[in-house]
């Protein structure tokens, strides 16, 4: 708790923690938006978000260590690779669970997530990895605040990708089909939308978004085969707060979570930062449920 005092005594430090939190938080918006997409369109809570992120990270890492090109190229490569992986997973498993009850979808994706974890463990090893693009840090205010440029790039990339996604959803035929299906799948089917293709695209797109996020994660932080679940839970937390299908709210919640989490990690100690996220989620769920109960309603 001494660190709490420190934040008040040294405002630049408080600002530093805030900036770091926001920059990391922006990346969290991506898997969260993907989760909201799959949840809204297919009514599946995809528990493999975290593993998709890590897969994207590992692909970028392998690209970086084997070819030596800048890991920034990992963003499009991971995007495409995960799109394919997502499509394949949809064609093997997910299409069978689209209309099943939610528990089956959670557990099935949970099984996939365990498989992916273990496959990454087998192929990439259990070690923690990072791909540093080798850019020099920028100092502000007499070096009292230090910002890694890659984090700024990542931050900017989130908004670029977000913009592309919004365009895709609004303008393209498939984007409109996805939105139609999310509103009423049966009606969309009757109107001639190929919902199976919509689901496959949605799921693959989600994987791709996570993959691109993973490329950003490996550059700004670390990855390891078993670090996925925290991204899944963060995504869930953000979606619960932001609601489905509103990219703006998702980004704001993600930034908020990033900042909050970073402050919590600074004040309570880094070893409790992850625990803080889980407990925050449980607290938010219970709080919302109690609020609804006062309105004689349930969180369903």
């Amino acid at each position: 708790m001494d660190n709490l005092l420190l934040l008040f005594q040294a405002p630049p430090l408080a600002l530093q923690v805030l900036i770091d939190g926001l920059l990391v938080g922006a990346i969290l918006a991506m898997p969260a938006y993907g989760m909201a997409l799959v949840w809204g369109v297919m009514n599946i809570i995809n528990v493999t978000q975290g593993e998709f992120v890590l897969l994207g990270g590992f692909i970028t890492y392998i690209l970086f260590t084997t070819t030596g090109i800048s890991p920034i190229w990992g963003i499009p490569v991971s995007f495409v690779a995960l799109y394919v992986i997502g499509w394949v997973i949809y064609k093997i498993v997910i299409f069978r669970i689209v209309d099943r009850d939610l528990f089956i979808s959670i557990l099935a994706t949970f099984g996939i997530s365990i498989m992916l974890q273990q496959l990454m463990n087998v192929f990439f090893g259990a070690d923690i990895q990072t791909a540093d693009p080798g850019l020099e840090s920028w100092g502000f205010m007499d070096d009292m605040i230090i910002v890694a440029p890659i984090r700024l790039i990542a931050f900017a990339m989130v908004f670029v990708l977000g913009g592309i996604l919004v365009m895709f959803m609004r303008q393209s035929r498939m984007g409109r089909a996805i939105r139609a299906t999310s509103q009423n799948a049966r009606a969309a089917r009757i109107m001639g939308v190929d919902t199976d293709k919509v689901y496959a695209t949605t799921y693959a797109l989600n994987a791709a978004i996570c993959g691109a996020a993973g490329a950003l994660v490996v550059m700004t932080s670390v990855i390891g085969p078993f670090l996925g679940i925290i991204y899944t839970v963060r995504s869930f937390l953000i979606v619960v707060v932001a609601g489905l299908g509103n990219l703006g709210a998702v980004v704001v919640s993600a930034l908020g979570l990033g900042a909050l989490e970073n402050y919590a990690g600074f004040i309570l100690g880094a070893e409790f930062q992850v625990a803080f996220v889980y407990i925050l989620m449980v607290v938010i769920l219970i709080y919302r449920s109690l609020m609804l109960r006062r309105q004689r309603r349930y969180l369903t």
Partner: protein, 247 residues
């Protein structure tokens, strides 16, 4: 005759749409009261407000002189006011007898009552009531395997098993084979006369409600349009207009 249920000036809006506007109805003890109105006139909303499915925006709901408008569903049910559902809800993967056994009244049960065994008299009563609604022979079938009409009867029997003081029925004859409707009217009347259960019934079928209720309230566009005994209401021009869509 004292009022068992007294709804006064209840209003409810859903995001700007007024579902119930300043509605007052009285249900005297031992009566059969009807609630009619065209689709979307706010009947089911009123039911949901009474039994605690959502909060009301204004007004008061008193049951046995106790304000219940802020209580939640299970608390209200334990006071002795039950409702059946328009879409019929039973426990599908349990047998009919099990559905009945778990519907015994819970108001006087303490903590240990959670764990107690089934009493022999409960079993007897369950079988009698299943016989009363004509489902005795099906008692060991899974409730989910029954036809829609049979499920409706089972739901009615479950409600009776609970020995409510007031039973709110949401379209008890909807979706039922017309040849069975007279049987249902007869059973509702017997439940009222023999078991002393006060009934508040939503019904679309005019023949049924005119036969059944002694006093009818008619809703339209969320407002109380008219009320009175069946033969008075039947000739009320406002009611006829509401049903025919005139204004």
């Amino acid at each position: 005759m004292s009022q068992l249920l007294e709804v006064s000036n209840v209003s409810k809006t859903f995001g700007g749409v007024v579902a119930n506007d300043d509605i007052s109805i009285q249900v005297p003890e031992g009566a059969i009261i009807g609630l009619i109105g065209p689709n979307g006139s706010g009947k089911t909303t009123l039911f949901n407000s009474i039994v605690g499915y959502h909060p009301i925006d204004g007004g008061s709901i008193r049951f046995q002189d106790k304000e219940i408008s802020s209580l939640r569903v299970p608390d209200i049910a334990r006071l002795g006011m039950l409702r059946t559902f328009q879409q019929t809800r039973i426990y599908g993967e349990m047998t009919c007898v099990e559905n009945m056994l778990i519907s015994t009244p819970t108001r006087d049960e303490g903590f240990l009552g959670l764990f107690r065994d089934h009493r022999a008299e409960d079993m007897e009563k369950a079988e009698q009531l299943l016989d009363f609604v004509g489902l005795y022979s099906k008692r060991l079938l899974f409730a989910g395997d029954l036809s829609f009409g049979q499920q409706k009867l089972l739901e009615f029997a479950m409600a009776l098993m609970n020995e409510p003081k007031l039973l709110l029925l949401d379209e008890p004859t909807a979706g039922i084979n017309p040849t069975l409707i007279n049987g249902i009217i007869d059973r509702l009347k017997r439940a009222n006369a023999d078991l002393g259960i006060t009934l508040l019934v939503i019904e679309h079928n005019m023949r049924v409600i005119m036969n059944l209720a002694e006093h009818i309230y008619c809703l339209a566009h969320g407002q109380l349009l008219a009320d009175g005994p069946p033969d008075v209401l039947r000739d009320d021009q406002r009611v006829i207009d509401a049903y025919l869509g005139a204004h």
